[in-house]
């Protein structure tokens, strides 16, 4: 089955949705942008960060991106701004900063 394209979801008409609110594809929550609730976002100081990966373990939304076992960026399409990462960081390398009205990476 080809990938279900939900990019136009906010414009779909009543008869364009799947029957009975079914989601006809598994594992597609990564395509569904849920970061729009956020009122603040995490910023990481690379100089202070020890790459202990505690933020990656603790993030309830798996929104900490890594590469080669190192934290790189935050997935702001799904980060809700809960601040668990900043609170758990043993070296205070993560700061929560207020969001404006136009959230980055959120449509």
């Amino acid at each position: 089955m080809s990938k279900w394209d939900i990019s136009g979801l906010n414009e779909w008409k009543s008869d364009e949705f799947p029957l009975g609110a079914v989601i006809p594809e598994s594992g597609n929550s990564r395509d569904y942008v849920t970061g729009g609730w956020r009122s603040q976002r995490p910023e990481r100081n690379d100089a202070t960060c020890t790459q202990c990966l505690i933020c990656w373990i603790m993030c309830p939304d798996s929104a900490v991106n890594t590469e080669d076992e190192k934290v790189t960026t935050f997935n702001l399409r799904h980060c809700k701004g809960c601040g668990v990462c900043a609170n758990q960081c043993p070296v205070d390398a993560i700061t929560m900063v207020p969001e404006g009205c136009d959230l980055p990476e959120v449509k």
Partner: protein, 395 residues
């Protein structure tokens, strides 16, 4: 053509028989008077191997409909039955079944709701569930209960519809009275209802889907409700098509609205369910004394046949609407509100009088129906119509 045999049986017996012939994959049910013998007789069919249905006994009607929702989402053809307090206890799942577009078919034995406690017929149970998104058919007789149950499967499972469908019969009057019923042979019913091909079955592991998703926080909830409205509007054509096909097969007529004597009627009574027979009987007698009386029976309440009703009533001088349910504080009973709305666009407005009758099985004697037709015939020639609704036969 099918082989039909005529038997003497109760409404509940022939509903159970129709369900056996429709061969559901699953039934979850809880007994409640006066529906109990439907699921009891069906359980007997399962025990004797006369139908291969996964029969689940549950601890309440809330669980019964929940299990039906789960099984239907899994891809099963699902049937069940309930009544009164049981239907009330199913209320939240009734909305879930229609919102998830699951073509569950349920028989409902119309019975009053407590308090005070009562086990007899009225329509307050189903009228309380009228806005839950279920297609709703009504039977006057055991025969119609049998026929509606079979048609309900085809209507519910039609790809243009996919909505749960309820088949209602009057508690005790139709469920427990022995009536003359024509039963079709099993093969003809199986051929008529066909095989069920579910959409989005949870057990289709090749095509995994999620049921029960969230559509709040600015999501498309509103759009899903509109799609339900579009589906029930499409069901009008499907109900008539299925009804016509079933009529062809069975030799018995079906209409969302069925009329008697309306060709030249001056006065008409609109009624649902078992009382229609009594009203026809009285109307026939009144015609002998010169009152041109007609009867309009509603066989499908949701979707409501507004256009058919308005057409049937065009030309009459006064209309009585008989409601076997209350809508406390409204201008009249649930059927009255629908009928008056159907007549709003009529070229000529005629008096429409609401009679509340038979609540909790209160007896509807022929003399009472005579008073309705006598009142109407006087109103038709200019007598003052009563203000407000009339409690027919109540002290």
């Amino acid at each position: 053509m099918p082989t039909q045999k005529t038997i003497a049986a109760t409404g509940n017996t022939v509903v159970a028989e129709a369900m056996r012939q429709c061969a559901p994959d699953m039934m979850a049910a809880y007994p409640i008077t006066p529906q109990t013998t439907i699921v009891e007789e069906f359980a007997g069919f399962v025990a004797k191997g006369r139908v291969h249905t996964e029969y689940i006994t549950v601890e309440s009607e809330h669980s019964a409909m929940s299990a039906c929702v789960g099984a239907s989402a899994a891809g099963a053809r699902v049937m069940t039955a309930t009544s009164s307090q049981g239907l009330a206890l199913m209320w939240e799942e009734l909305h879930i079944a229609s919102g998830m577009r699951l073509p569950i078919v349920m028989a409902n034995a119309n019975r009053a709701l407590s308090a005070p406690i009562n086990i007899h017929c009225d329509h307050s149970d189903i009228m309380g569930a009228r806005d839950t998104g279920w297609i709703t058919l009504f039977a006057e007789t055991a025969q119609e209960a049998y026929d509606n149950t079979i048609m309900a499967i085809r209507i519910a499972e039609h790809p243009d519809v996919l909505l749960p469908t309820m088949s209602c019969l009057d508690g005790f009057i139709t469920t427990h009275s022995i009536d003359r019923v024509c039963i079709m042979d099993d093969e003809s019913v199986a051929g008529f209802v066909g095989e069920y091909t579910p959409q989005n079955a949870l057990l289709d592991i090749e095509n995994p889907v999620t049921h029960g998703s969230f559509a709040g926080l600015g999501g498309p909830f509103f759009e899903f409700k509109k799609s339900q409205r579009m589906a029930i509007e499409r069901s009008r054509a499907v109900i008539n098509e299925v009804g016509a096909e079933f009529s062809e097969l069975s030799g018995r007529p079906f209409g969302m609205v069925e009329t008697w004597g309306m060709e030249d009627a001056d006065v008409a009574v609109v009624v649902i369910g078992s009382t229609a027979g009594n009203v026809r009987h009285v109307a026939r007698r009144m015609r002998e004394s010169g009152i041109k009386a007609g009867v309009v029976k509603i066989r499908c309440f949701r979707p409501f046949p507004y256009a058919e009703l308005a057409e049937a009533l065009s030309g009459v001088k006064a209309v009585a609407v008989m409601d076997r349910a209350e809508s406390f504080g409204a201008e009249g009973g649930p059927l009255f509100l629908e009928v008056r709305s159907a007549l709003y666009d009529a070229a000529e407005r005629v008096p429409v009088i609401n009679y509340i009758y038979g609540l909790g099985g209160s007896d509807v004697r022929l003399e009472l129906i005579e008073t309705v037709l006598n009142d109407l015939s006087e109103i038709a020639v200019g007598a003052q119509a009563p203000t407000g609704l009339v409690y027919l036969g109540s002290r």
